[in-house]
């Protein structure tokens, strides 16, 4: 497996979209690849950081409401 693929599997894993076999493939790759091991480590940390931050976004419909109000104001 190439590093590109390993990186992709690691990404999928961060969103819980990697299958059991994909995880096995990834683990066996990073066992021997220092470069990907580092990427996987950072990738996991990035997910943790987002979890810790507890960021919120506004829903799309809320944003749409604000946009509509702004357009109305501009067209006045």
């Amino acid at each position: 497996m190439k590093c590109e693929k390993a990186g992709h599997l690691s990404d999928k894993d961060q969103y819980k979209e990697a299958s059991f076999w994909e995880k096995i493939k990834l683990v066996s790759h990073i066992l021997f690849c220092k470069f990907c091991r580092e990427y996987v480590k950072n990738n996991k940390r990035l997910s943790e950081v987002f979890k810790e931050s507890d960021l919120k976004t506004m829903t799309r419909s809320d944003k749409l409401k604000i946009k509509k109000r702004l357009y109305e104001e501009i067209l006045k």
């Binding site: 990186g7 992709h8 990404d11 999928k12 961060q14 969103y15 979209e17 990427y39 950072n42 990738n43 940390r45 990035l46 950081v49 987002f50 810790e52 931050s53 507890d54 960021l55 919120k56 976004t57 506004m58 809320d62 944003k63 409401k65 604000i66 946009k67 109000r69 702004l70 357009y71 104001e73 501009i74």
Partner: protein, 187 residues
């Protein structure tokens, strides 16, 4: 001379709201602790910004300027609440001997985090936004949808009319850039 400052004619509310609303939302929510109030205050902030766009000198960044307006809106909000004080009656249903129950309820309240945690989270939030700003517009939007809103791959692909493999390439680049950007202080 070309004037690069925004005027009401060339302002695009679509981009404006997409660019700043999440940042403003997180700024507000730690201060007012109520989603509905936060949304109202942000809406008012954008409107006020729009009305006074001509007074924006471009000395500060657009976002700093919006935050300055938002701060005033938040202060006004608390003033309004304070002026209603005394009219409201607060009932506390705990008698003295049920103090223990009260304490237990208090510590089990998931919304009461310790202050240090909150400040820490808040700073981290700003760091994340600063790094998100360095991503390309579309890349940032897709990454946010996937990572913060936890949207599934299929719906994002549909919305942006891209293939799943396109999406994963975008996510991969974004994750790499975000990790590099946050690494110094938060890893």
């Amino acid at each position: 001379m070309k004037n690069s400052l925004p005027s009401i004619n060339d302002l695009n509310p679509n981009l404006w709201v997409d660019k700043h609303s999440d940042y403003l939302f997180n700024y507000t929510i730690v201060r007012v602790n109520d989603t509905e109030i936060a949304k109202d205050l942000i809406s008012e902030t954008f409107l006020a910004g729009l009305k006074s766009i001509n007074s924006f000198k471009g000395k500060a960044s657009e976002r700093t300027w919006l935050i300055a307006i938002l701060k005033r809106k938040i202060i006004d909000h608390y003033r309004k609440i304070n002026s209603k004080k005394g009219k409201a009656e607060v009932r506390i249903n705990y008698s003295e001997d049920s103090e223990i129950d009260w304490l237990e309820e208090k510590v089990s309240d998931p919304y009461i985090k310790n202050a240090e945690d909150r400040i820490q989270n808040h700073e981290l939030g700003f760091a994340i936004f600063n790094c998100l700003d360095k991503l390309k517009e579309k890349q940032a939007r897709i990454f946010k949808m996937k990572t913060i809103d936890n949207m599934d791959t299929e719906s994002i692909c549909k919305e942006f009319n891209i293939s799943p493999s396109n999406l994963w390439v975008i996510i991969h680049r974004a994750r790499k850039d975000m990790a590099a950007c946050l690494k110094e202080n938060w890893f």
